[in-house]
């Protein structure tokens, strides 16, 4: 039964990827047939991310004889890892050349993600919780000061390890980005997110000081706080805080929720992590990152499905506990396929790319990084510009 369910999900995912490839191949066709210049600024992008924390015991003690204490005893220790895969691809890109000389553009992207959450409790069977999303996002860059961003991510959640219900939910973000200049931007908006281990409707506030191709500090509530700096032309380091979490459907085959005969409960997790991340952008097509640090606040909760059936806002939990702090390890890669329009020194587009990576596909708060924003070379290098640096790279036909 479970095998059949797994095969079904895999088949659907493969079918969807095939559809994306076909749609994308056709969307690349140049309608003018004159000059086949790249059509989009965003290229079809695939990313993956693996995150893990070591096994931990609960710090929290519940009063003996209570339902909480019984569940705690039942669960024993806790360990968590997750594997995320996702993609986005451009569907429509439209440029607006205005009479005042400015160039605005609109980007419609198709998005999809696949997340396998793997919570491991010492006292109950293993659960592999699937969350898969397909969505769209639209970004309008006015070419002046403002950028609008709208993302809608419907997703499904189910437990692949045991029979459970499949539920469909959605996350969304709408925001306005005001870029005062390349070194200062503000973002305001609203977001419906499950990042904090529950369903929240939150205001979005963001501020960035410093240029995206150089050193910058970015505060993006509720997404992250980041200090990012180029370490070389291809490597970027960052120190950050960010929440990680979600709400997943989980089979109640271990009778965690004894009050009713629900075959499915909701598992919510939330961690506030702080760490250091190294992004290596080997070229325009591939970036990899490794990151490690500490999980600060860390908690998990269980929610009854039936009790929250008519609840459209924050889920009411029947169990909630804090987990002791620990280390985490995170590694990932991003592949960008095909050619894109050039974006050199176009800071509005740098901001657009950063918006797209900050509000990740699938509401998992994984970050694909800004590998397509070239790190700023130092002024010193610019002044001492020597062509001999590239003499081995020149092919006359490549130039003129």
């Amino acid at each position: 039964m479970i095998e059949r369910q797994k095969r079904y999900v895999l088949k659907k995912v493969l079918l969807f990827i095939l559809l994306i490839v076909v749609v994308n191949v056709f969307s690349q066709t140049d309608s003018t047939k004159k000059i086949k210049a790249p059509k989009h600024y965003f290229t079809p992008t695939i990313f993956s991310d693996y995150y893990t924390t070591p096994q931990k015991n609960s710090d929290q003690r519940f009063r003996k004889g209570t339902a909480d204490a019984t569940i705690r005893r039942h669960l024993r220790n806790y360990q968590y890892s997750q594997l995320v895969g996702g993609f986005y691809f451009p569907i429509i890109t439209k440029d607006y050349n205005r009479t005042d000389g400015s160039t605005g553009n609109f980007h419609l992207l198709g998005t999809g993600s696949y997340m396998m959450a793997m919570p491991r409790f010492g006292g109950i069977s293993d659960h592999n919780l699937l969350k898969a999303s397909i969505g769209v996002r639209g970004i309008y860059n006015s070419g002046k000061k403002g950028i609008w961003f709208v993302d809608v991510t419907p997703f499904m959640s189910t437990d692949l390890s045991a029979h459970s219900n499949t539920v469909y939910r959605w996350a969304s973000t709408v925001l306005y980005d005001y870029m005062a200049n390349p070194s200062l931007s503000f973002r305001f908006g609203v977001t419906r997110t499950y990042l904090l281990g529950n369903r929240y409707h939150l205001p979005y506030f963001g501020m960035r000081i410093g240029r995206l191709d150089n050193i910058y500090v970015s505060i993006q509530f509720p997404r992250n706080v980041t200090f990012s700096f180029p370490m070389s032309k291809y490597i970027r380091g960052s120190v950050y805080f960010k929440p990680m979490g979600g709400v997943f459907n989980m089979a109640n085959n271990d009778s965690i929720y004894p009050k009713s005969k629900d075959n499915t409960i909701l598992y919510g997790r939330y961690e506030l992590i702080s760490g250091f991340r190294l992004d290596a952008n080997f070229n325009k097509h591939i970036s990899v990152f490794v990151s490690t640090g500490f999980t600060g606040i860390k908690s998990l909760a269980f929610y009854s499905e039936t009790e929250n059936k008519n609840n459209n806002f924050v889920f009411r939990d029947f169990y909630n506990e804090k987990i002791s702090r620990g280390l985490f390890f995170n590694v990932g890669f991003t592949l960008r396929i095909g050619r894109a329009k050039s974006i050199y020194n176009n800071y509005n587009l740098y901001e657009t790319f950063n918006l797209n990576s900050t509000i990740d596909v699938g509401d998992n708060n994984t970050n694909t990084g800004d590998g397509n924003i070239p790190n700023q070379t130092k002024n010193k290098e610019k002044n001492n510009f020597k062509i001999k640096d590239v003499q081995d790279l020149i092919e006359a036909q490549d130039l003129y």
Binding site: E381, I387, I394
Partner: protein
């Protein structure tokens, strides 16, 4: 134990991808980046000029590059007169395209930066081209 296995599998996939893709970026990307740095330095654009100029200039360069790449698909070994004629026609078409792009984007660029800087841009492009060719000539034969 299982966790370690996951990490190892993940790292294996990751490094396989790294092997698939060439490192260090391709040659054109590097040269393009250097040209942008060269022009930035020469033109000394204000923030407002820069915001308007670069999207238009990038678009111009993309179209120019695409036209040249299309031309390079032509074979340079001619088996008969027809193939030689096709090559010459393609070359003529390229020249026409280059000129019409130049004309179109000259008008567009004029709206983004002062005319003096448009003239300096042409000079900077020529200077960059000369520098590159000079380096090519001075490159020892291997």
């Amino acid at each position: 134990m299982k966790n370690k296995r996951y990490i190892l599998c993940y790292l294996f996939v990751l490094f396989s991808f790294l092997k698939l893709f060439p490192q260090g970026g391709n040659k054109r990307e590097k040269i393009e980046a250097l040209r942008v740095a060269f022009i930035t330095q020469k033109l000394n654009l204000t923030a407002d000029e820069s915001q308007k100029f670069w999207p238009v200039y990038n678009e111009y360069q993309d179209k120019l590059r695409a036209a040249r790449q299309e031309f390079r698909k032509q074979s340079t070994i001619f088996a008969n007169d027809k193939e030689a004629q096709d090559y010459l026609d393609a070359e003529l078409l390229l020249k026409q395209r280059e000129f019409s792009l130049y004309k179109e984007y000259y008008e567009k660029i004029k709206k983004t930066i002062p005319i003096k800087k448009v003239a300096e841009l042409r000079q900077a492009e020529e200077e960059f081209k000369k520098e590159l060719l000079k380096q090519l000539q001075s490159k020892p034969n291997e």
